[in-house]
Amino acid sequence: MPHTAKFPLFLIPLLPFLGAAISLIFGRRMRRQSVHLVAVGSVVAACTVALIAIFGHLLGDVSLWSLRANWLMTGGEGAPRLVDAAYTWIASGSVSIPVGFVLDPLAAVMVLVVTFVGALIHIYSCGYMAGDKDYARYFGYLNLFTGAMLILVLADNLPLLFVGWEGVGLCSYLLIGFWYGKDENATAGKKAFIVNRIGDAGFLLGMLLLWAAAGTLTFSELTNPDIQAALIHKTWQLFPQAQDFTSPGKVSFLIELRPVELICVFLFVGAVGKSAQIPLYVWLPDAMAGPTPVSALIHAATMVTAGVYMVARMNMLYSLAPNILIFVAFIGAATAIFAAFIAFSQNDIKKVLAYSTVSQLGFMFAALGTGSYAAAIFHLAAHAFFKACLFMDAGVVIHALGGEQDIRAMGGLRRKLPVAHWTFLVSCLAIAGIPLFAGFFSKDMILLGTLANTFEKQAGTTMLTAGAMRTVGWILYLMLTTASMMTAFYMFRLYGLTFLGEPRTDSRVLAELHRPSSSMRWPLVVLALGATLVGVLGAPTLFAGSDGAGWLFLAGALVTAAVLVWMAFFWASDIEEEAGRDSSYVQWGLIKGPLLGAAAVMVFVGIWAAAGKSFIKIWPAAGKSFIKIWPANWLGEWLKPSLSSWPIVQVKPEFASKANPFVASHGAEAWTMALAVLLSLASIAAALWLYRKGPNQTLANLVATLRPVYKASLNKGWIDELYHLIIVRPVNFSAWLLRVAVDEFLIDKCLVTGAAWAVSVFGWISVQLQTGRVRQYIAAALVGLAVLIFLTTRSISTFDVQVSGSQVLVTAGVKGDQVLGVPEGRYRTKVGYDFNGDGKVDTWTLRPSQVVTWTYDKPGQHRIRMVVQDPRFGKKTSTEKVVTVGAGR
């Protein structure tokens, strides 16, 4: 492989695993400082190794970056990647599954998100969990999770990915039920685990089917054209035995499938479970029972995005199954709308964020479904920043209010928790898609993907016509735009109720407000800066600067910068008033400094977008080299080697071109952006207007008007109740039935107690036999002897034959085994011979030793049968022999 190099990638997951081992084994005897030093240190170390792997060329080594640069220059097949084959895990016959790691551009994005956001959340946890007695166990699990997630991300084959997949599921379960003392936490953990099992069963089936169809599970081999051809052109028949029951040529019940479609559906079922999509999303809101940093790391930023990552990783298969992609897109879009609808009326701060996560994951799946894999990964990365930040802000609020999670009992926290406030607001702006925050670019890319003509062009490969595909694209676009509008509304409802208005919290709680420690504050600032700036990575046509889009960007950048500056100075007085002794550190270090810095970057980006082209004219060398490392849609370009399968679909050769995944006009780009921003701004305005003062009469009237809708949203669409009715209760009933009928009756009563009862009955009988009277014992022995004699003595079982011409002479018994003479009398052994084979005995004799003769008419083979009749019971046994006789005299 030309674009491949070796690198000890195993270190990246190994370091967190070592941290976990130390924390879980020795943690109880370690001081808290040592515990979090090990935990944070191992993740930071993993992040460092990942950075060296990606940017190591700066140290004069081969790195992913330099490999990609080489790939860009020389072109060629296969993605640039670092590989590491640790050892062979399973070797059995033709199956060989290595523990192999691969770091390609896609894995690199994920590894950086996991280790960077993970490290920040580890640091935040030091403050959040400071008072917890199970400090070491918490960090042990968190490290274990990070390691498992890194295995998932770096695996170069599906089974290894599945190991990480199950590992993160286990850690999710352990951390949701971390405070296992409360019954509902343990129940939530179990719910998450069980719902995930459904998805995992699908994943496993998909994997086995892929093995059956392709004979390999290694990602790099699945791009092989021969294997892909086998996946498309072969058909699988469901219920093939149906043919046997029908007459030839008349097949009534036969379903033919392309293997790749079945495989993709099953793998998607796994993704639906892990990434909380309809219909398996129900576990995620309940998973909020865990500590808040866990919600941020596992249930928002990383683990729940594993499904998105997996589908993107398997893009070479999904691109072969466009029908399934449409299905994926609709599941995603429906989830995005439905979860956003539920988030409207939830009153638990973490529940709102949980439904928001479900909704955002829906966006990602919609992006995958439209083939915009890069957009999905972009949104994933952006979402990791702003959602982790939102959750950790929620954690600060909950921590400050002593465990209060109900937003109706919050309000007015703007002045009390200034750092949490501004980071929360920035993250809200990012998720709402306000330019030029992170969510704006990623959401825009997703919306544009639904309208890109590559999607429409798939018509030839799907069940749908081109017109229908266009309609499908438009429906998806409308669904996602609606969901995006709803996102802006519920996020600013949450913001308004939590931070604006007058405090509704108990004054005693407010008086003893727990201020976040430093370790809890600055990770928020870093994440908020990420949520502000990370979108620039994927900004489309950012440096094109030729068609007016650049000026649009400048405008957006200036507005954003103005907002940031306004934020920095508008709240200055509040902070001076409330922040207390650390005011200047908080003011400049955590609030004004970062905000002004972000504003400066925004202004620079805007100016560069608008004037970049002119700059290139003035100083071509600098400008061109800048564009070279930072082209438009930089993230998409970076991911291209890993996600290039779209739209290379080999079902029909006319689609086999390496076109840019986003073939949409700049015009479409501009108006989708503008519409999305306008709708978001309208939603934000409405939400702030309604909720800025907390619950009030206007709201009460609104709720009364929309009562059925409100009820449906508040009760989460009664989906939990529905599942309870159609799944949980039948399962419980069958479990009860099994308990009563099988366990209690059949096993306990019949088998266990029954066996003991049978033994005791036989024991009782034996006791009765043991009288101690010798005469009875002897009698039994004699009876037994008689039976043995009867059973073992045999009747005469063979006979001797002598042939003399056409005459035969037969005697019962064999020579040297003479039959004992038995006295004449009534009970005699009767021996008979059937010579001519007609089944009837020709000669009977009462003296077995007597020689009987018979003369045959014809020469040749004859069958002689001897019949012996038992003298006592008349039982007959017979033996046969074949003789050859000669001609008569």
């Binding site: 101690g772 010798v774 005469r775 014992y777 002897i778 004992l820 038995v822």
Partner: protein, 100 residues
């Protein structure tokens, strides 16, 4: 003419009488006598077969049976005497200690 089978039938009859004696009589001494009868019926059968087969091993074996029977009677009678001394009975039905 006395056939070998006549001896065998006699042996079987003697054996059955001995067995009946062992099973039905209560006195230990009579039971032991019945056992002797059974042993001797077996001796008779041995000698008969020995003659039929023309093989002297059977006769040698019957001598050995006689010798061992003498030793067995000596031990058996000693046990009977010991039992009688401890239990004051020779009724076999009263001697059911084997149950324990």
């Amino acid at each position: 003419m006395i056939l070998s089978s006549h001896y065998l039938v006699l042996s079987a009859v003697l054996f059955m009488i001995g067995a009946a004696g062992v099973l039905l009589r209560r006195n230990v001494l009579v039971v032991m006598m019945s056992i002797e009868l059974m042993l001797n019926s077996a001796n008779l059968a041995l000698i008969t077969f020995s003659r039929v087969q023309g093989d002297a091993h059977g006769q040698a074996l019957s001598f050995m049976v006689v010798a061992i029977a003498a030793a067995e009677v000596a031990v058996g009678l000693a046990i009977v005497v010991a039992l009688y001394r401890s239990r004051r009975t020779t009724n076999i039905d009263d001697l059911d200690m084997m149950k324990q």
